[in-house]
């Protein structure tokens, strides 16, 4: 049953992927000017331009161009970066591990601490703890990421000298960036966990659980938390994109290599092959995240597995 659901879900991503790839493909074509100028250095030789025209099929129809582009992608060819003059695929392969590390750690950090914080704030009877957590959640959701990054740098790197200001050498360079993204991530996860737990606690079956004589702890562990996990996992999967977004800014501020800083630099330099490649990767990550989230939800809730039709 779960396998069938997963299979159906994967099938559904195909039309979505096609749609996204069309959008990204069209970005370069929508720009003012000749598409060739956006794919190659200004002032290149006519021979180089002709070569590009042939490669991308720029003299053929839009649809043909799209298929050419897609087939090249499947062969691992994402075009060449204008500024750095290297295959985009290489650039991406080089930067991807950094983004994955940062994103992965930030995701783990936010999820674990967010869930703990959210559970504590939902279950505690202490009004101060509750208010503190709610204030924390508010701050985490509203403070601009890059400002927080700068503040953290100011405090921990400049004043206290505990962590390096920028770069990606060594584990200690990961601490501040993960904390920056994590701050917002924890706030989000904590808020969702808190609301989910409180909602679950109001459900009818909880009365009967108490009537059976189960202790609060048992009810929380065996019944409330599994229920609360549903919306939490949903939000986490959907907001993978958000965490990615935070990573983009943070990579830039901390001068770390990664897809995010690659993208921003490429945007500033109008290096569109790189832009396309990065966007594709990020879109892929978002879709993958949503897919995993949906499947995880189905795994946790038997009602969803069977509702699919």
């Amino acid at each position: 049953m779960l396998a069938r659901y997963t299979f159906q879900r994967i099938l559904m991503t195909i039309p979505v992927s096609i749609a996204i790839s069309i959008v990204i493909f069209m970005i370069v074509r929508l720009l003012p000017g000749d598409p060739i100028d956006n794919l190659i250095r200004v002032g290149s030789s006519p021979a180089a331009r002709a070569e590009l025209v042939a490669k991308y099929g720029l003299d053929r129809s839009l649809i043909a161009q799209y298929f050419t582009w897609v087939s090249q992608m499947f062969r691992g060819d994402f075009g060449d970066a204008i500024v750095l003059r290297r295959p985009v695929a290489d650039l991406i392969a080089q930067n991807l591990p950094y983004s994955l590390t940062l994103g992965g750690l930030a995701f783990l950090f936010s999820s674990v601490f967010g869930m703990i914080l959210g559970t504590v704030s939902a279950m505690t009877r202490n009004p101060f703890v509750e208010r503190f957590v709610r204030g924390f959640i508010l701050l985490g959701s509203t403070v601009p990421g890059f400002w927080l990054a700068l503040l953290l740098i100011l405090l921990f790197s400049v004043q206290l000298g505990w962590f390096p200001v920028s770069g990606a050498r060594g584990w200690d360079s990961l601490v501040l960036p993960v904390m920056t993204i994590g701050f917002g991530g924890i706030a989000l996860v904590a808020r969702v966990t808190r609301v989910a737990l409180m909602d679950a606690g109001r459900e009818d079956f909880v009365t009967l659980l108490h009537a059976k004589g189960l202790s609060r702890g048992t009810i929380l562990r065996r019944h409330l938390l599994p229920h609360a996990m549903l919306p939490v996992v949903t939000i986490l999967a959907l907001r993978i994109g958000w965490i990615l977004g935070g990573a983009v800014t943070v990579e830039f501020v901390f001068g770390r290599p990664g897809l995010g800083s690659l993208l921003i630099r490429a945007l500033g330099q109008r290096d569109y092959p790189v832009v396309q490649g990065c966007l594709l990767m990020l879109a892929l990550a978002v879709m993958l995240g949503t897919l995993i989230g949906d499947v995880a939800q189905a795994a946790m809730d038997p009602r969803i597995r069977e509702a699919k039709s």
Binding site: V16, A19, I20, I27, L30, L31, L138, L139, S141, T142, V143, P144, G145, F146, W147, L150, L151, I153, L154, V158, L238, R239, I240, G241, W242, L244, G245, G246, V248, T249, F252, V253, L263, I264, L267, G268, R270, V275, L279, L282, A283, V286, G289, T290
Partner: protein, 293 residues
């Protein structure tokens, strides 16, 4: 009674009732008060700012907060306080305009999708769902990439980034309302679809959208600051909170106040907007309606 009068009247009643109640609580008063203060500052900037925001005085650069430069000066000797005050204008106008556009287009799309259903609805919602899971900063970046930096593109970028949110919310409201029995009754009484949409569905759907719009202005301010920070927003010499922090990064060690104060203002503004928005939600009692988005 014309539809326009009815819409105007219901909006009027809504505004008075909800805003009045939101100001009732202490939190509401403080948050709402700050917002009002900010808006007034933005409007009366030329009279409030002690210095000309563009006036450079290189000899006086990078001075820490002291009289007469209450928040210090930046590397060009420009008064930080004045730049922050004028920055309020930029931030509020860009964010406000962007969200207004976003809300209008989003509501229209969402209402049409929810009302007419079928293929149109599915098509719109697929596109919307696609964009909704993307972080707002990414969408804005893409847009700016196409159009180029500047205030106009920032405005449109922000508008597009939040479009999905309004479309989803409006459609969810319309779908929810269509199921209500009173709509069924209206249809049975022979009302035309346009009439139902304007007279019955929209006024009821508006409340959560307006509140979300308010909260989105807060997000928009942060987005505008972030874009400005990347140098993709307002171009010099137009003061923008984000751009101030960007140029201040180079002087992080010398004059941290250039970064700290604009950041504090952004943070406090967004917090105030969020808190006031929460009070509005409580005053209108529509927390459950917001679960659709």
């Amino acid at each position: 009674m014309t539809t326009r009068t009815m819409a105007a009247r219901s909006f009027d009643a809504f505004a008075r009732m909800s805003v009045g109640r939101a100001f009732g609580s202490t939190v509401g008063k403080i948050a709402g008060g700050f917002i009002v203060l900010l808006v007034l500052t933005a409007i009366f900037a030329p009279w409030i700012a002690p210095f000309d925001y563009a006036a450079q005085n290189l000899a006086n650069g990078n001075t820490p907060p002291a009289w007469p430069h209450l928040l210090g000066t930046d590397e060009f000797g420009r008064d930080v306080l004045s730049r922050v005050i004028y920055g309020a204008r930029t931030s509020l106008s860009v964010s406000g305009t962007a969200i207004a556009i976003s809300m209008t287009v989003g509501m229209t799309l969402g209402a049409a999708a929810g009302n007419f259903g079928g293929f149109f609805e599915r098509a719109v919602m697929t596109v919307v769902d696609l964009t909704w899971s993307f972080p707002d900063i990414l969408i804005a970046l893409i847009f700016v990439a196409i159009i180029g930096p500047g205030l106009t593109s920032t405005t449109f970028a922000i508008a597009i980034a939040y479009l999905a949110q309004f479309t989803r919310l409006t459609r969810a409201q319309i779908v929810r309302l269509k199921r209500e029995t009173f709509i069924e009754a209206t249809i049975n009484l022979g009302a035309k679809p346009a009439h139902i949409l304007l007279r019955h569905l929209m006024p009821n759907a508006i409340a959560p959208v307006i509140v979300v719009g308010m909260l989105a202005i807060g997000d928009g301010i942060v987005l505008e600051a972030t874009l400005g920070f990347f140098g993709l927003g307002a171009q010099p010499p137009t003061p923008s909170w984000g751009a101030m922090m960007s140029s201040g990064t180079a002087q992080l060690f010398l004059s941290p106040w250039v970064i700290i104060f604009p950041g504090i203002v952004v943070a406090v503004t967004v917090i105030a907007v969020n808190l006031f928005g929460d009070e509005l939600i409580r005053a209108l009692d529509i927390r459950d309606r917001l679960r659709g988005a």
